[in-house]
Symmetry: D2
């Protein structure tokens, strides 16, 4: 991040420098930066992004559609061939969308074709905000929308994409929150205190398979030292936490049956706001548990 440009520098830049600094944030659309240039100075990075988005949102539908058409297909031929914008390459690669099996590639191709025929522009989604399974879900759900709603959705996704790019390239006050966090807490209401040293696994749940993202161990306060996906973006999708509570209660020396009522407790939940805070605690005894979306 050493090469980030400061907001103050941008505010003082000439139009050429301003446009050059923001090149690539909105793909193939230098007019966006040019329009935003008029609104200087910006108090916050968020205000700069709002001004850039505004330049898009005031256009007529036909112009917006023409603008969206400049985006590449998701996981499409261009991505395979590597002939898309460098930022798009990195974003799609983060989910492995550049390395699909032939079967997956065909599924995306079918969806891309159906979507293009229905709406006249490619499917745009901010891939850093979703798991692979959630992208496919969104793809199918959005195929069923009315064209006008879908146009709004596509522009909102461009808003997410460009906000993330801007936050990476420009430093300054009022940077947007670009990722939320996932935390947990294990409270033992049998013993009357936090449950320490509980192994917790985190899985991402796909339609056919699950993949293990991380494992952590609770500290003396029953929490984890860092949020659960610290350092990686939180993505819209379905997750499962597995708490190894049988081993915990065994260490406490409770007299439980060899086949205890609770051994591995799964909590399966969806994340729909990747910028939000998801606190998913486990309040438990050897004979019960509860969870909730906390704050």
């Amino acid at each position: 991040l050493a090469d980030r440009i400061s907001l103050a520098t941008l505010n003082d830049a000439t139009l050429d420098d301003f446009a050059a600094a923001l090149d690539g944030i909105f793909e193939h659309a230098p007019w966006v930066a040019a329009a935003a240039f008029e609104a200087r100075p910006f108090a916050t990075v968020t205000a700069l992004h709002d001004a850039m988005m505004q330049a898009v949102l005031i256009r007529a539908h036909a112009e917006q559609i023409a603008f969206i058409r400049l985006h590449p297909d998701l996981a499409g031929r261009a991505a395979r061939a590597g002939t898309i914008a460098p930022a798009s390459v990195a974003e799609q690669a983060g989910l492995g969308l550049d390395q699909l099996s032939d079967e997956e590639y065909l599924r995306f191709e079918r969806l891309n074709t159906a979507y293009g025929e229905r709406f006249g522009f490619p499917f745009v989604v901010c891939v850093r905000r979703l798991t692979r399974a959630a992208i496919l879900d969104a793809f199918e759900r959005r195929l069923g929308q009315e064209p006008e709603s879908e146009l709004k959705t596509a522009l909102a996704e461009i808003g997410y994409i460009t906000r993330l790019r801007l936050a990476e390239q420009i430093e300054g006050p009022g940077a947007p929150t670009v990722t939320g966090q996932l935390t947990t807490h294990v409270l033992d209401i049998h013993g009357g205190g936090p449950a320490a040293d509980v192994l917790v696994e985190l899985y991402e749940i796909g339609p056919a398979a699950r993949s293990r993202l991380t494992e952590v161990v609770t500290n003396a306060d029953g929490r984890t030292d860092e949020p659960l996906l610290f350092g990686a973006p939180l993505r819209m999708g379905t997750y499962e936490l597995i708490f190894h509570v049988g081993a915990y209660f065994a260490r406490r020396g409770l007299d439980l049956p060899p086949q205890p009522f609770l051994e591995h407790v799964p909590l399966r939940f969806g994340i729909s706001e990747p910028e939000g805070h998801y606190h998913v605690p486990l309040v438990l005894t050897p004979w019960s548990y509860s969870t909730y979306r906390g704050s």
Copy 2:
């Protein structure tokens, strides 16, 4: 069950008829029925079983071990060859122990060998009370026991086996409870009432795989019309209920995100008392749930 003999008939029978009627309850041990004969009449089927077990329990350890030795290996060569007692055949077949893969057969063979070397008698377990995975767990756990404890455990298992056989063959008052039940209840504390029409799946969880046992739909009271494994024995083991609550809340018309917090809620729990009542309710909102072992 038309051929069951009544306890009254047994109470009035000659020694020969009494012994004939109880032949096969305790394998290869006609002396058990002969000893119990002395204690007639029996007020209940349970009292008859107690008297028969007593005949075993008063014997010296060496005699008890000789008696246990007459039982076949579990999933062993004799079971494969079909040369074990008919009741044993049926019991082992109920879990598919007569149709193991070569790999599973070798695992059982290794365990049988280790067990026989350590204790001097075959591994006896009441297979109708356990899932296949629970049998392997129990096998490994019991291998680690002290010989005296293991002798007690083996005789207790013979108690379970013979109690089940007796309950099937003798009718009369005071029949022992031979199987418990599993029930659930879905309560929607967002709406303030029972959750009807919720699809609930039940799985048995093995070490490597899970198998789907049944699916039910909750009725207007949020319960199921029958217990969840009605008609089959409840077995010691690990289970998972999956509640399809996303579809339920969608039908209620709540304004939830496309990726709801709760879509499929898994409750994973162990059953250690196959004769007990396991009530495993789900108390839920779109943002929380709790469960407990109820009654």
Copy 3:
């Protein structure tokens, strides 16, 4: 209840006998029974009541108001003087409305006057469905309604009053549910089973004071042998259950501090549907508890 008339008898009765049998159900309104007579025969007691109410509901507003005017003031001069219909006397006496303090009498008088001035008819409420505190709440709330809504509410209350009277005097199939029930259940999720021998007190909560209605002790299943107000009507109002859990955990021999976290657990709740089933369980450990409106 030996003198109840059967629905079958009513269905075969002459108009005179029919009207005589139903005299007093709708106060001072023999035309109600006469109108219902035309709709014979009735398959259920509820159908008979529906027909009688229909005779009222089809009238013009002016006639309905004239009909309501024939009802006595609640806790008014007539009730004090004993010059109201016998059924009204008993109903008002059930709440002690015939024995008010001077202060309470004045409060009712003020409300009666204000209500009469606003709506032109006396305040009618089915007193058997409410606690005294709930009646005062309802009185004040209804004073704020629009006249048309209040007319509907008053007729609905007459519906409740006459339904109860009918259920007492006529026997036959399809009798309406005239009272709900209140049940509880104490589940100890520390021990993993029902909590037996827990003392539970039930209070009615008024604005200034609380009155103790009953106390019960949980049985081996953690429930009470009878619903909590068995034999008395469930009334709309505010209630509190107090569970003596400190003594229960002490008997279990748990090592808890001299000042335990939970000693007496109060659950305070409102009943708004006196014909409903209110199941209010307590799921607890020494360090936690939860409750919900169950079913």
Copy 4:
């Protein structure tokens, strides 16, 4: 607190200055400071206190009893007459023990007499750690102890008293925690987020009456800006939080009955560790709630 002496100053002081600085911490026992002087320097205030207590704990029982005898009776004649140590005066006055009714005074006098007869020394308790009701409970409970246990309890109480006094008079690293805190959190699992603007009252519960300590309103995170008894010591005793949830749900615009299931939710709990953190959350819907001792 401007006059507090620093631990560094104490560590460098002469015996006379050291003893003078600590005068009054242990009542009428200058030998305690003198003994501790030998153990200088102290890294922490807690280490200083430990050294002072050690000087007491190594004495023979008879000497310890003689030392305890120098303490005044609780709420006794001396306290009424004002002839006790200044620190004691302030501590007893904090609970109003200097202004008892005649009846309360007689009850304390009876307890003081019985205690003195049984143990040969006055009842000592760290009054800043208990509510008035909890002091009476502790008095009665300790009267039933064995003399040896009670001697230990009395010395432990002197430990609490002197630790508080020391923390007030000496500043430096490692000051002991002298008071815990009480916090709450209201989570609305119907709406899926924190419940803001909920009025919460806190009461102290005595055997006969309750007294209102404070009221707060939850902030946007469902918490309170300060702990609930911020600025005052947390005392062992029984408390009740009353959450005004009916008004909260009404503001959310939910369609609930005029007599809602939950209007004022009481959570009654005991505090046994005045130095601990008591987090007592309310997790609620209009139809349910739960609480637990959190962390």
